[in-house]
Amino acid sequence: MAEKHTITLTVNGRRHIAEVEPRMLLVDLLRDELSLKEVHIGCEHGVCGTCTVLRDGASIRSCITFAVQADGAEIRTVESLADGPTLHPLQDEFWAKQGLQCGYCTPGMLMRACEILAHNPDPTSAQVREGIASNLCRCTGYQYIVEAVLAAAARMRTGQNATHDVEVRS
C-alpha cells in the first residue's frame, strides 16, 4: 500500500485533518471518512456532475479530484446549505417547483446553482440553462430545475427566507 499523506481541509466550516492514501478520491473522503453521504457518486469520470462540490467557492467534480489535491482547501457540500431545519432558498424552490424527482443529481445541481448565483445573482433563463449543462438529470427535463434556480435567485436577491421547514433527522 502506498504511504499515506496528512491533509488539512475545511469542510462545511469545520476543520479536518485526515490521513489519506494518495489514490483516495475527494468524493470518497467526503462520503466514507466524513460521512457526508449526500455527496453522490455517479459516473466516476467527471461527466454526470452529481459529485459536484465547491472548492474555495468554485464548483469541482469530487470524483476526479484526489483528496490530497484538496489539502488546504475550503470545501462546501450540499450539507452546508440548510440552516438547521430551514432550507436554503435553492433547496426550497427545488422542492416547490419540483426541480427533482429521483433526487440523484440534486446535490450536484444545488452546488452548481450556488456557484452560478454567486457569480450572477440575476441570471437569465438561458444563462441558468447553460450553467447547469455541466450536470446531468434524467428525470426532470431540466425545465423545472431552471425555474427553481430562477425563483431562488429572485428570493436571494431580496433576502427572503425559505418558506418550508424540514424535520431534521440525526
Binding site: A2, E3, P22, E44, G49, I64, A133
Partner: protein, 289 residues
C-alpha cells in the same frame, strides 16, 4: 472504478519536480496538473502511473502576465482564470473564446492550460489555439529550460515533444492584431470537439495581410491549414475566397473515421467550420476599424 495505488509528491519548486521525475523514472511517473483528463483515465485504469508528481504547490507555475507583446501564462493556470482574465481578453481573445468551450465550468475550475497541452488529446481545443498563435512552450528539465514552438510540440495523439524528465512550465502567446474566431462542432455542449477551427485574420485596407488557421479533428493532432492561409493572404475577402480557403483547408487532409464521425463527415465539418471561423474573424477584424 477507483485508481490503482500510486505514490505521490507535491514539491514546491520546478527543480524538485524535475528531480522527482528522474528519481522515479522506473515507476512511469506522471505529472499531475488539474487532473481533469488524467484522473478519469486512472479511474478507468487506462493509465496506471506508479508515481504522481503534483505541481499544485509550485506557485511560480500559476499566473498570467503581459511581457511586451507576448502573453505569458503559467502552465498551472486554471482554465477558468484564463477565461475571465482581462489580459487574455485583450492580448489573446482567441484563447479566451476557445477556453470557454473546454468541458464545463466545473472542469475548467480545475483544468489547467499546461495540463491540456501536455496531455495533447487530439480532440482538445487548446492545441489548435497554440498552433494558430505560433505559441512557444517552455519546458524545464534537468539541463535547464528550452523553448519549443507549438508546431514542434504536438507530435500526435497524446504525444508531445516533452522528454520523460521534462515539465511544461510556461506558454508564451504572441499578441496578434486583427480578428479571431474559434468555432467547433461537438455532439453536446461541453464535449470534446469532433472538428474545431481556430482562425486569425489581419486586414490591410481591403485585403487580408495575414491569416492563420488551425484545425482539430482531421489529423492525429491539431494541424495548421497552410494551403488555406495561402489562399486568404493577399486576397480581398469575399464569399468565393472564403469558400476556396475552406476547400484548400481540407484538400490534403485524411482524417481517420471513428465512432464519433466518419472521415467524410469530418472533412465536411472542417470545410463548413473553416468558412464560419474565417467569416467571423473577418467580421471582427472589420469591426475593429
Amino acid at each position: 472504478m477507483k485508481p490503482p495505488p500510486f505514490s505521490y509528491a507535491a514539491p514546491p519548486t520546478i527543480a524538485e519536480a524535475v528531480g522527482l521525475l528522474a528519481e522515479h523514472a522506473d515507476a512511469e511517473p506522471r505529472v499531475l496538473a488539474g487532473g481533469q483528463s488524467l484522473i478519469p483515465l486512472m479511474n478507468f485504469r487506462l493509465a496506471e502511473p506508479s508515481h504522481l508528481i503534483d505541481l499544485r504547490n509550485v506557485a511560480e507555475l500559476s499566473g498570467i502576465r503581459l511581457d511586451g507583446d507576448v502573453l505569458v501564462i503559467g502552465a498551472m493556470t486554471r482554465q477558468s482564470q484564463i477565461e475571465q482574465a482581462p489580459e487574455v481578453a485583450i492580448a489573446a481573445p482567441l484563447l479566451a473564446e476557445a477556453t470557454g468551450l473546454v468541458g464545463h465550468t466545473p472542469i475548467r475550475n480545475s483544468g489547467t492550460i499546461g495540463g491540456s497541452l501536455a496531455h495533447a488529446d487530439p480532440a482538445a481545443e487548446l492545441p489548435a489555439v497554440a498552433l494558430a498563435l505560433d505559441a512557444d512552450l517552455v519546458a524545464a528539465g534537468p539541463g535547464g529550460t528550452r523553448t519549443i514552438p507549438a508546431a514542434e510540440f504536438l507530435r500526435g495523439p497524446f504525444s508531445t515533444a516533452l522528454a520523460a524528465d521534462e515539465i511544461l512550465t510556461e506558454i508564451r502567446l504572441p499578441r496578434r492584431a486583427g480578428g479571431y474566431a474559434f468555432v467547433e462542432f461537438a455532439r453536446t455542449h461541453g464535449n470534446f470537439a469532433i472538428v474545431a477551427v481556430a482562425a486569425l485574420v489581419e486586414l490591410d485596407g481591403d485585403r487580408i495581410s495575414r491569416a492563420a488557421l488551425a484545425l482539430t479533428g482531421v489529423a492525429p493532432t491539431a494541424i495548421r491549414a497552410t494551403a488555406a492561409e495561402d489562399v486568404l493572404t493577399g486576397a480581398v475577402p469575399d464569399d468565393a475566397t472564403i469558400a476556396a480557403a475552406a476547400d484548400a483547408a481540407v484538400s490534403g487532409v485524411r482524417p481517420a473515421g471513428d465512432l464519433h464521425a466518419s472521415a467524410q463527415t469530418r472533412i465536411e465539418l472542417a470545410r463548413s467550420h473553416v468558412r464560419r471561423a474565417v467569416t467571423l474573424a473577418l467580421h471582427r477584424a472589420q469591426d475593429q476599424r
